[in-house]
C-alpha cells in the first residue's frame, strides 16, 4: 500500500524503450507509476486506477490518443485528471485537437529531455 502522499501517474506510451525510461525517471521522484501500452489498455486501467496525472502519447495502436482523450473527458470520474499529451506529432491541428479534447499541455518528445518532462510533471503534481 503506497502512502497517500505519493502521487500517482498513468503513462500511456506504446514505445517500450521510451516507456521504460520515463518510468525509471519518474520513479526516482517517488511517484507511483502505472503504464498502458495502448489506448484500450489505458481505458481499462483507468477503471481501477485513479491517477493524479496522465501522460498520454497520441500515436497508439488500437484506440489512439485522441479517442482516449475524448473518453476521459466524457467520463466525469476522469475528466478532472490533468492530461499532459506527450507525443511526436506537432502540427497545429494536432495541438488544437488535443487541447479541445481537454489536454492540459502538449509536449513534443524529441524537443525535451526527460529532466524537462520531470520538471513539468512536478509542476502539475506539486501545486
Amino acid at each position: 500500500m503506497s502512502e497517500t502522499e505519493s502521487k500517482k501517474i498513468l503513462i500511456v506510451e506504446d514505445d517500450e524503450f521510451l516507456r521504460s525510461l520515463t518510468v525509471k525517471r519518474l520513479e526516482k521522484e517517488n511517484y507511483n507509476i502505472e503504464v498502458a501500452m495502448d489506448g484500450k489498455v489505458a481505458l481499462e486501467v483507468l477503471t481501477t486506477y485513479s491517477p493524479d496525472l496522465i501522460l498520454l502519447d497520441l500515436l497508439l495502436p488500437e484506440i489512439d490518443g485522441f479517442e482516449v482523450l475524448a473518453k476521459i473527458q466524457e467520463n466525469p470520474a476522469w475528466s478532472k485528471i490533468p492530461v499532459v499529451v506527450f507525443s511526436n506529432l506537432g502540427q497545429r491541428e494536432d495541438i488544437e485537437k488535443a487541447k479541445s479534447l481537454g489536454a492540459s499541455d502538449f509536449l513534443i518528445k524529441a524537443n525535451f529531455t526527460l529532466d524537462d518532462v520531470t520538471t513539468k510533471v512536478n509542476g502539475y503534481l506539486n501545486k
Partner: protein, 499 residues
C-alpha cells in the same frame, strides 16, 4: 410551246416552196401562152402582172408571218430555213425588179420598194449574207443607171423592160434618187455594222457576266469549302480542348493526390523519426547527467558529440516539418505568453556540455528584471533560438564567447519590443555573402569549410518564423571577429491574419 401549228406552218419554208413552184408554174404557163400578146405597157391586167402581184403578195404575207413568228415567239431559225429564206429574198428581189420594170415609170419613189427585200435580208440574215445582199442591191440599183434597156428572155419571148430611168423625170430626179438610195443603203449598212458591234458587245458582256457569275460561284464554293474546313477545325479544336481540359483536371487531381501523399509522407516519417530520436536524446542526456553512474571526462566528451548530433538531427526533422507547411501558416502557430529569460535559459541548457567541451563561455545577460511576457509559439521559437545558438557554438573556435542578451527596447522605439541578441566571437559571415544568408539552402563558404554538415535551411526558417511573430531578424558580422544576430519581438502583438 404555245405555238399554234398553223403559224409555224406559215413561217416555215413550206410557203416558200409553194411560191417557188407557183412562180415556176406561172412562168411556164406564161411561156406557153406567150403568143397571146400578154405584155402591154398599159394598165391591162395580164397574166404576168397577175403572177407578179401574187408573188409579191404571198411573199409579203410570208415575211410578215415569219416576222411575227420570229419576234413574238422568239424561236431561232434553222439552217435549212436559212437557205429557204435566201431563196425567198431572191424571189422577192426578182418580184420587185419585175414590178419596177413594168410600172417603175409611174413614180420615181417606187424604187423604195427595194427596201422590202433589203429589210427582209437584214432581218433574216444578221450576218455577212445581209451585207452582200444589201451591197448587191445597191450595186444593182447603181448599175441601173447605165442600163437603158434590159431584155428578158422568157421562154422564147421577149419582155421588154423599160428602165425606170427612161421616165420623163429629169437628171435632177435621177441624181436625187441615186443619192437617196445611196444614203439608204449606207445607213442600213451602218445600222447593220452597229448591230453587229452591239451584238459583239452584248456577247462580250454576256460572256463577262458568265465569267463573273462563274467566279462568284467559284468564290462561294471556295468560301463554303473554307467554312467547312474552318468549322471542322473548330470542332477538332473543341474536342482537343475538352481532351486537354480533362487531362488538366486529371493532372490537377493527381497533383493534389501527390501533394497530399507528400505531406502525409513527410508528416508520418518525421513523426516516426522523432520517436527514436527522442529515445536517443534521452539516453544521451541521462548518461551525460550521470544518472546512470559517474563517467570520465573523455566519456563525457564523446557522449556529448553524440548528443549534439542528435540535437542537430532533431532540428533538421523539425525543419522538414516546418518547410512543408510553407503556405499560409499563421494558423499553425500556437502563441503563448512566455517569459523570455526562462525560455532562453531552458534552451541554452542543452548546450552547456558543448560549451564546456569547447571551453566556450556561454552566458545569458538580462538587461532588466521586469521584462514583460512575449507571446510566442514556443516550439517554433525554440527551433529558431536553438538554430542560432547552435550556429554560434559551431562557428566559434575554442575559448570563444557566446552571449545571449535580452534587451528592453520599449524605451527607444515606437512599438514596444524586446530584443534578443545572440553574440559570438566566431568566424563571421563574409560581406559578399551576407545578403544571401537568409536564402533557402544557402550556406556561406567559410561555414561550409568549417562544418560540411548543414542544410542551410535554418536561417531561412528562422526568418519565416520571426516574421510570423511580427518581429524582425538581422545580423551584424565581421569576418574572423564575430557575428551578432538580433531578433526583435514586439510586446503583446496581436496575431495577424494572413490574407
Amino acid at each position: 410551246m404555245s405555238n399554234p401549228v398553223s403559224l409555224k406552218l406559215f413561217a416555215s419554208g413550206r410557203l416558200i416552196y409553194l411560191r417557188w413552184f407557183s412562180l415556176a408554174g406561172l412562168l411556164a404557163i406564161l411561156g406557153l401562152f406567150s403568143n397571146f400578146n400578154l405584155i402591154t405597157a398599159s394598165y391591162v391586167i395580164s397574166p404576168v402582172t397577175l403572177a407578179i402581184w401574187l408573188i409579191l403578195a404571198l411573199s409579203l404575207i410570208n415575211f410578215l408571218l415569219w416576222l411575227i413568228y420570229r419576234f413574238i415567239y422568239l424561236k431561232p431559225i434553222s439552217g435549212l430555213v436559212n437557205v429557204l429564206s435566201l431563196l425567198q429574198i431572191v424571189i422577192d428581189i426578182f418580184a420587185v425588179f419585175s414590178f419596177l420594170a413594168l410600172f417603175g415609170y409611174l413614180s420615181p419613189f417606187l424604187i423604195l420598194m427595194w427596201l422590202y427585200p433589203l429589210a427582209e435580208a437584214i432581218v433574216l440574215f444578221k450576218s455577212l449574207g445581209s451585207i452582200i445582199i444589201s451591197l448587191g442591191l445597191g450595186l444593182t440599183a447603181y448599175s441601173l443607171k447605165f442600163i437603158a434597156e434590159t431584155k428578158l428572155m422568157i421562154a422564147g419571148d421577149t419582155v421588154v423592160l423599160k428602165s425606170v430611168l427612161n421616165s420623163p423625170l429629169g437628171d435632177e430626179a435621177k441624181n436625187w434618187l441615186f443619192m437617196s438610195l445611196g444614203i439608204i443603203v449606207s445607213s442600213l449598212f451602218l445600222i447593220y455594222v452597229f448591230s453587229l458591234v452591239k451584238q459583239q458587245g452584248l456577247f462580250l458582256l454576256e460572256s463577262g457576266e458568265k465569267k463573273l457569275k462563274q467566279k462568284q460561284i467559284g468564290d462561294e464554293a471556295w468560301r463554303e469549302r473554307w467554312l467547312n474546313k474552318f468549322s471542322l477545325t473548330l470542332d477538332e479544336n473543341k474536342r482537343t480542348l475538352r481532351a486537354k481540359e480533362l487531362e488538366l483536371a486529371l493532372a490537377y487531381q493527381k497533383l493534389n493526390t501527390l501533394e497530399h501523399a507528400k505531406a502525409e509522407f513527410i508528416s508520418i516519417s518525421t513523426h516516426q523519426m522523432r520517436t527514436p530520436l527522442a529515445a536517443i536524446k534521452w539516453t544521451f542526456n541521462m548518461m551525460l547527467s550521470e544518472q546512470l553512474g559517474k563517467i570520465t571526462e573523455e566519456q563525457k566528451n564523446f557522449l556529448d558529440k553524440g548528443y549534439q548530433g542528435t540535437l542537430r538531427l532533431i532540428n533538421i526533422v523539425n525543419n522538414l516539418v516546418h518547410i512543408d507547411h510553407d503556405e499560409a501558416n499563421k494558423d499553425d502557430y500556437n502563441f503563448q505568453a512566455t517569459n523570455l529569460a526562462d525560455f532562453l535559459k531552458d534552451i541554452s541548457g542543452a548546450f552547456s556540455n558543448q560549451a564546456e567541451s569547447k571551453k566556450i563561455n556561454l552566458t545569458i545577460n538580462q538587461a532588466a528584471s521586469n521584462l514583460p511576457m512575449i507571446e510566442l509559439d514556443q516550439n517554433k521559437m525554440r527551433m529558431v533560438l536553438e538554430n542560432l545558438i547552435d550556429n554560434a557554438m559551431k562557428y566559434t573556435p575554442r575559448e570563444g564567447q557566446v552571449s545571449l542578451i535580452i534587451k528592453d527596447d520599449r524605451l527607444n522605439s515606437a512599438e514596444p519590443a524586446i530584443e534578443l541578441m545572440i553574440k559570438d566571437t566566431g568566424v563571421g559571415i563574409p560581406v559578399d555573402e551576407q545578403k544571401k544568408i537568409f536564402h533557402k539552402f544557402y550556406r556561406a563558404s567559410n561555414a561550409r569549410r568549417q562544418e560540411p554538415d548543414g542544410s542551410g535551411i535554418g536561417l531561412f526558417i528562422a526568418k519565416d518564423i520571426v516574421e510570423n511573430h511580427s518581429g524582425t531578424i538581422w545580423f551584424d558580422s565581421v569576418e574572423n571577429k564575430g557575428t551578432t544576430f538580433h531578433i526583435v519581438l514586439p510586446v503583446r502583438q496581436k496575431i495577424k491574419n494572413k490574407v
